[in-house]
């Protein structure tokens, strides 16, 4: 019967240009959809609308300057990106940082992660059509940004990490503010579930949509919460612990389903975990120096260096090939969003436009991170 119908009702495939200006592409991402009615046959992407060639720029910058460029990659986890470069240089030069630095870095990481996930949650709801979530997400994000502002002097691109420590010491209000935030957010997180997670329409929109198997997830290089939604254990904080992650107790969240709802749940649960990490550390910030003395001109010995950190979007890596000069010979930023985006075609095959929007939202792309 279905064959007969498709034979009788001749349809024609057509192209739809989604982006670079489109509300669902979260920036200047351009997708070329091959559609049959509303059903997606193929997704092709065209990137580079905000390509700034940061990797090439790094080749003419000193290591201290590179840190500032990493802010502009994934601007929602700028602190974590900064940290990756600092950790790489510190590892290469065997600079041992104090416990205070490690703990503060970890706390800032987790605050960044929460603020990124909260923003994601708001936008996720908006992509599915529930506009109110955006405002709720921003309520909490505002609090975190205020904490950042007080200590780092900036709200988004913080540049708080420097090689060998931190730029400034903590603001005196930091501990109190973080405690206030933990108390506030603990009450508000269940509200998120009430508003969105348990909504029937929302669940129906996500469950079973954008399935990717565990094997495919590894093969496509998926990482971060996107891969953990397929049951892949890939949390860098657990695998290659850095800063103070080896001394805090947290769970790596994985869900085996591999659909959009699993990816959604991973991020929601990660917020709970981040909160618990913050709770463990907030009372135990050790005394000590906030900055270790380093040389004025930093030169990495010849060789290959790799540092991976778990950014809010996943496995962010910095690869540096040094030839012993004060400028790196080649810098590669391994972008988590780019790897996640490559699986989009696989995930969205045979689904509808509305599903594509949902999938794009659950893989949580930030276009500057993809374009680099």
């Amino acid at each position: 019967m279905e064959e007969y119908l498709t034979d009788q009702l001749k349809t024609q495939e057509y192209f739809l240009n989604m982006g670079p200006q489109h509300p669902a592409t979260h920036g200047v991402l351009r997708l070329l959809l091959k559609l049959d009615g509303e059903i997606i046959r193929n997704v092709d992407m065209d990137l580079g609308y905000i390509h700034r060639s940061i990797e090439k720029m790094c080749e003419r910058d000193t290591y201290k300057q590179i840190i500032h460029l990493t802010d502009r990659l994934d601007y929602l986890s700028s602190h974590i990106n900064n940290e990756a470069v600092c950790l790489l240089v510190e590892k290469a030069l065997n600079i041992e940082v104090t416990d205070r630095i490690k703990v503060i870095r970890t706390m800032m990481d987790e605050l960044t992660r929460i603020s990124s996930h909260v923003l994601w949650w708001g936008v996720m709801g908006m992509d599915i059509g529930a506009l109110t979530t955006f405002m709720y997400g921003f309520r909490e994000r505002e609090m975190i940004n205020d904490i950042f502002e007080e200590t780092c002097g900036a709200r988004l691109t913080m540049n708080y990490n420097v090689i060998g420590g931190l730029r400034y010491d903590l603001h005196e209000n930091f501990v109190k503010r973080v405690k206030d935030f933990i108390k506030h957010f603990k009450k508000k997180l269940p509200e998120y579930d009430k508003l969105l997670s348990n909504n029937v329409i929302f669940r129906k929109r996500l469950e079973g949509i954008g399935y990717i198997s565990k094997e495919d997830a590894v093969a496509y290089g998926l990482n971060g919460p996107t891969a953990r939604g397929s049951g892949v254990s890939c949390d860098i904080r657990k695998i290659h612990p850095y800063s103070a992650y080896d001394r805090v107790d947290f769970e790596e969240i994985t869900f085996p389903e591999g659909d959009s709802y699993a990816r959604y749940k991973v991020r929601i649960q990660e917020m709970h975990q981040s909160l618990s990490i913050l709770e463990q550390l907030v009372d135990k910030i050790p005394e000590g120096e906030y900055k270790v003395k380093t040389k004025a001109v930093i030169k990495l010995p010849e060789g290959d260096y790799l540092q991976r950190v778990e950014s809010a979007r996943g496995d962010f890596g910095v690869y540096v090939k040094s030839d012993g000069q004060k400028f790196p010979y080649r810098v590669k930023f391994r972008s988590p969003g780019f790897a996640n985006l490559t699986a989009l075609n696989k995930m969205s095959e045979g689904l509808k436009i509305a599903d594509l929007v949902a999938i794009l939202s659950t893989i949580d792309i930030v276009v500057p991170d993809i374009d680099r």
Binding site: G48, E55, K56, M57, V218, G221, I239, D304, R330, T342
Partner: protein
């Protein structure tokens, strides 16, 4: 399984490569380009090693030579490994594609092709991904590339 074990295992199977960095964080392998595919599929499919996660694919300009650096991670042992392949020909550099072994390489190879001009033999669609479709001003990430506007040096 530590770096030495991995090194021995690979050296037993392949003779034409150089491995260094046993004492470092990860092994560094340099391999001629014609045995790259064989090595990668061995690393991926070997039950003990299981280097099945392509972490990064980096195009690089060594000055004289062009090359590609692959970073693989094992989802079993959580070890990282770095594989370098080089090609002498700067005008028509060719390296075999690995996107049939690691689907993750598909778009990364397009990127390396755009910025370094490395042609990946067997890649179905080496289009312009980041650069404009009508780009014909060379390969911007190469060391000898000069940008007339001096936007990047």
């Amino acid at each position: 399984m530590n770096n030495t074990d991995i090194k021995n295992k690979i050296e037993n199977k392949f003779s034409e490569l150089t491995i260094s960095g046993e004492d470092k964080e990860f092994l560094t392998i340099e391999i001629p380009k014609n045995s790259l595919k064989k090595l990668l599929s061995f690393l991926k499919n070997d039950e003990e090693l299981k280097f099945d996660y392509l972490f990064a694919l980096t195009g690089i300009d060594f000055g004289e030579e062009l090359g590609v650096i692959y970073h693989l991670e094992s989802t079993k042992t959580r070890k990282t490994i770095q594989i370098t392949v080089k090609t002498n020909d700067r005008n028509k550099p060719e390296i075999e594609t690995i996107h049939d072994i690691f689907p993750a390489a598909y778009f990364n190879e397009i990127e390396a092709h755009e910025f370094f001009g490395i042609k990946f033999k067997g890649h179905p669609d080496l289009k312009h991904l980041f650069l404009p479709e009508n780009w014909d001003k060379g390969y911007p990430m190469r060391k000898d590339y000069t940008d007339i506007n001096m936007l990047i040096r």
